[in-house]
C-alpha cells in the first residue's frame, strides 16, 4: 500500500517547515520566497507542504517548477480560455488527469505528480461548479488571486452545509420508511434482520 508513496521518506518533515537537510541545488533560491507565501494565514497547511516538498523535488526536475503554477489562474492551469464551457472544462480536466494522475507518473516523481493533480483537481472543482466559478471570476476581476487555498475553508463550510441538508433529507426518508414498515407489521412478526438493525440502532 505504501509503495507508490514511498518517494518521500517517512522522516521527510514536509509539514514542519524546517528543511531536514540543507539543499545545495541552485533552486534553493526560491525557498525563502515560498516561505513568504506560507505566512499568509489562509495558506498554512497546504501551501507549506507544497512549497517545502517542491524545494526538495525541483532539484533534478526539468519540468516547470510548481511555483509558477501557483501563480497561474485556474483557467491557465486547465489550458482553457476564461469563457470556456462546462464541457471544455471537463475535457481539459480529464486530459490533465491522464497526464498528471499519480497512477500514471513515472517512478520517482509521484509526489510532484500528486501536487500537480491536486492543483488541477481544485481548478476543476471550482470551475465546474457555476456558483464557485462566478465567485472565482469576481475575485479575479477584482485582482484578488488566491488560488488553491483562499476559498478552501469557505468551500468546506459550504460543503458541510450541503451535507447537513442532504443528511436531513435522507433522515426524513429513512424515518418515513421506518414509519411505514412499523405501521405495516407489528413488533411481533418483525423479521430477524429488522430486529438486529433495531438493536444496532439502539446500541
Amino acid at each position: 500500500m505504501c509503495c507508490s508513496y514511498g518517494v518521500i521518506p517517512r522522516s521527510d518533515p514536509s509539514f514542519s517547515l524546517l528543511p531536514y537537510k540543507p539543499s545545495i541545488t541552485p533552486t534553493q533560491v526560491h525557498v525563502p520566497r515560498s516561505r513568504v507565501a506560507i505566512l499568509t494565514r489562509v495558506g498554512s497547511f497546504r501551501t507549506r507542504s507544497f512549497s517545502s516538498s517542491s524545494s526538495v523535488h525541483d532539484g533534478g526536475s526539468v519540468a516547470s517548477p510548481p511555483l509558477t503554477e501557483e501563480l497561474m489562474s485556474f483557467y491557465e492551469l486547465l489550458g482553457i480560455s476564461s469563457e470556456g464551457t462546462a464541457v471544455e472544462i471537463k475535457q481539459a480536466y480529464k486530459q490533465l488527469a491522464r497526464k498528471y494522475h499519480p497512477d500514471v507518473s513515472p517512478p520517482g516523481r509521484v509526489e510532484e505528480y500528486t501536487q500537480r493533480f491536486i492543483r488541477v483537481l481544485e481548478a476543476y472543482e471550482t470551475l465546474s461548479d457555476p456558483g464557485r466559478r462566478a465567485m472565482y471570476d469576481r475575485d479575479m476581476a477584482r485582482g484578488i488571486h488566491l488560488a488553491f487555498s483562499a476559498r478552501r475553508r469557505f468551500q468546506s463550510d459550504q460543503r458541510m452545509e450541503e451535507r447537513g441538508e442532504w443528511k436531513n433529507r435522507w433522515q426524513d426518508q429513512l424515518s418515513e420508511l421506518k414509519r411505514r414498515s412499523t405501521d405495516k407489521d407489528s413488533q411481533g412478526n418483525m423479521s430477524w434482520g429488522a430486529r438486529m438493525r433495531r438493536q444496532r440502532n439502539d446500541l
Binding site: 524546517l18 498554512s44 471544455e88 497512477d103 491536486i118 442532504w166 446500541l203
Partner: protein, 642 residues
Amino acid sequence: MNESTHLECRQIKEDLRGYCSKVYLRGQAQTDVPLRARFLVDDSSLVLAYSVVPDIRCLFYISPLNAGMEEQAYTVASDSETPGGEKSASTFPETAIGIDIGTSHCSMAVWNGSQVELLRNTRNQKLMRSYVTFKDDIPSGGVTNQLSQEYEILSGAAIFNIVRLIGRVDTDPVVHASKTLPFLVQTLDIGVRPFIAALVNNMWRSTTPEEVLAIYLVELRTMAEIQLKRVVRNVVLTIPVAFSRFQLTRVERACAMAGLHVLRLMPEPTAVALLYAQQQQQNVPDNMGSGIEKIALIFNMGAGYCDVAITATAGGVSQIKALSGSTIGGEDMLQNLMHHLLPNMDSLFSSHGVNEIKSMGLLRVSIQDAIHKLSSETSVQVDVDLGNGSKISRVVQREEFEEVNKNVFEKCEILIQQCLKDAKVEAEDVDDAILVGGCSNVPRIRNLVMGTCKKERIYTEMNPWEAAVVGAALEGAIASGVSDPFGTLDLLTIQVTPLSVGIRADGNTFVPIINRNTTMPSRKDLTFTTVHDNQTEALIVVYEGDEQLVEKNHLLGYFKITGIPPAPKGVPEINVGMDIDTSNVLRVFAGVLVPETQNPVTPFMEVRMPTVDDGHGWCAEALLRKYGSSLDLIMVQKKMQQ
C-alpha cells in the same frame, strides 16, 4: 504492510531449521525438508511461513511461544509438475494478479498480455468457495479441497464468511449475527476480537479471521504460481465499500502472512467501473475528443456486502463520483428466511453441540437452495428434517421471501438514492445501470435497480460474477506498468474516499477533515483551538465514518500534541491536516502554530493511520474515562469566511 514484519529469508530459514523437526507431506512425516524461498512473519504471536521448494509447497506454522517444542506443519499442495519454481523470477516487473475475495466465493484473474484471463482450479472452477476446513490439523481451503458433500462445509470444521468477520470487534452486530454459523463465534462484548474456532476431532480449535484468510490466499497463490509458472507476489484485491480502514489493515496483514504484496485494495464497484471504462473505450474509441461522457450506476450485491458506485467515463478515464455501501447481502436474506421458517432457531442452536451443528447445516443448505430456486420460480417446496424431531415441510412463495426481506431491499434502495444524491446525478442522467454480484439474479433486486435508475433494462455486456475480478486484473496490469500496443490498458480510475475521516472535537462531535466522496489523492486541513485557559496539551482522536456522534464511527487512532503555549482558551491555533494518497494511505499531521508568524511552535506530528490494533473497541472509552474533556479541541468557526 508493516516493514518490520518482513524478516530476512536467510535468517528465518536458519531459525526454522531449528524449529521444524517434523514436516508432514500427505500425512507422512518428512525429514530434512529444504526450506527455501520466501517467508513472512506476522507480528502477532503466530508465525506463518510460506516456502516454495522445487517439489514441495508447504505452509508452516510456528508459534514462537513454544518454538522448538511443538510444531505443526501442513502441506498445501504438491508442486512436482513445476520444475524449479523459483528460477522463473524474471527481471521484468511482474503483472499483479486480481483477486476478488467474496464472502461466499472467490475468483482470480490476470492480464495475459492481450486480455484478462480467469484462472481455474484443478476442478476447472473459476468461482471457488471461500472457506477453510480444519481437519486433523491440516487446513485446506475451497481452492483445492475436494468436498464429498455440500454439508461437509457445515460440519463445524470449516470456517467461512470470513470477509464478514475480519477486522470486527465482538460488540459488532454483524459478529453477533454470525453466531448462527456452524463453527464457533464467541463474543465477550468488550470490544475485542471475537473468538472463532473450528471443530477438529470434537475439540474447538481456535483461529482468527486473518489466519483463515491467509491460508486461503496461500492456496490461491499456489494455484496461480503453478498455472503461470512464475512467482506471484503482487496482487490487487477487491474489497467492500463499507470496509473501514482498520478492516483494510487486517486484509493487508492476511496478505502479508500469505507472502503477498498488496498493490491496491479496490472497492468492488470501482473495479467494475474500470471494466466498464475499458468496454466504453473499445466501443467508442475517441469519445475523448467528442467529449461524450457516460454515467453508469454500478450496483454490486454479494453474500456479505452491498455496494453502489456512480462513475462518469470518458476516454478511458473513469471518474468515480460517489460510493455507498453497507454490510447487507445474501447472507442476511438467508438468515431472515431461516429465522422466519424456524423462529426459535437461535435458542435451538446456541449450544453448538455436534447434533445442533448438523441440523443447522442441513437447514442452511436447504434454505440456500430454496432462495436460489425462487430466483426462477415463484414458489418452492422446502423439506428439511432437522434430526431432533423437528421438521420443516412447507411451500415458500416468492412474495413471502420478499416480505421477509423487505428491510434488505429497502436498505438497497436507500444506498442507491444516497449514491445518486452524493454524486449530484439524477436517475434520468444515468446511461447504464450495471448489476453485478451473487445476488444479481434475485428478481426483486433487478426490479429495484431498474426502478430506482428509471431504466428499462440492465447493462448486459458484463458477466455479473466475473466483472469485479476482471476489473481488478486490469488494475493489476495498469498498476504494474504494463502497456498494451492496442491501447486496451490506456485506462485510469480516479477514486474517491468511501468514508469521511476526521477527529473528535466540539465535545463529542465527529468533525470530518476529508469528507467522503472526495477525490483521491487529497490533502485538507482545519484549524482548531483549545477549550480551556492555559491548556497545554490536546488529544487528537481520529475517526472514520459519517455519523455525527464520534462513537458511532470507526476509531482509527489517537495521539497527543504537547507544548501549546499557555494562553486563554480559543487563542492557540492547532492545525490538523490529513493526506490520502492514491494508494489510499492516510496520514494525519497536527501541530500548534504561532498566530503572528504561522510558524509551528514545536515540530508537527505525522502519524500514519490506522494505529489501533485488535481490541481497540474500548480505547475511546478508556481515553474518555482518563482525560474527560481536559484535552479537548473545538473547531475555529468560519473565521476565514469574508
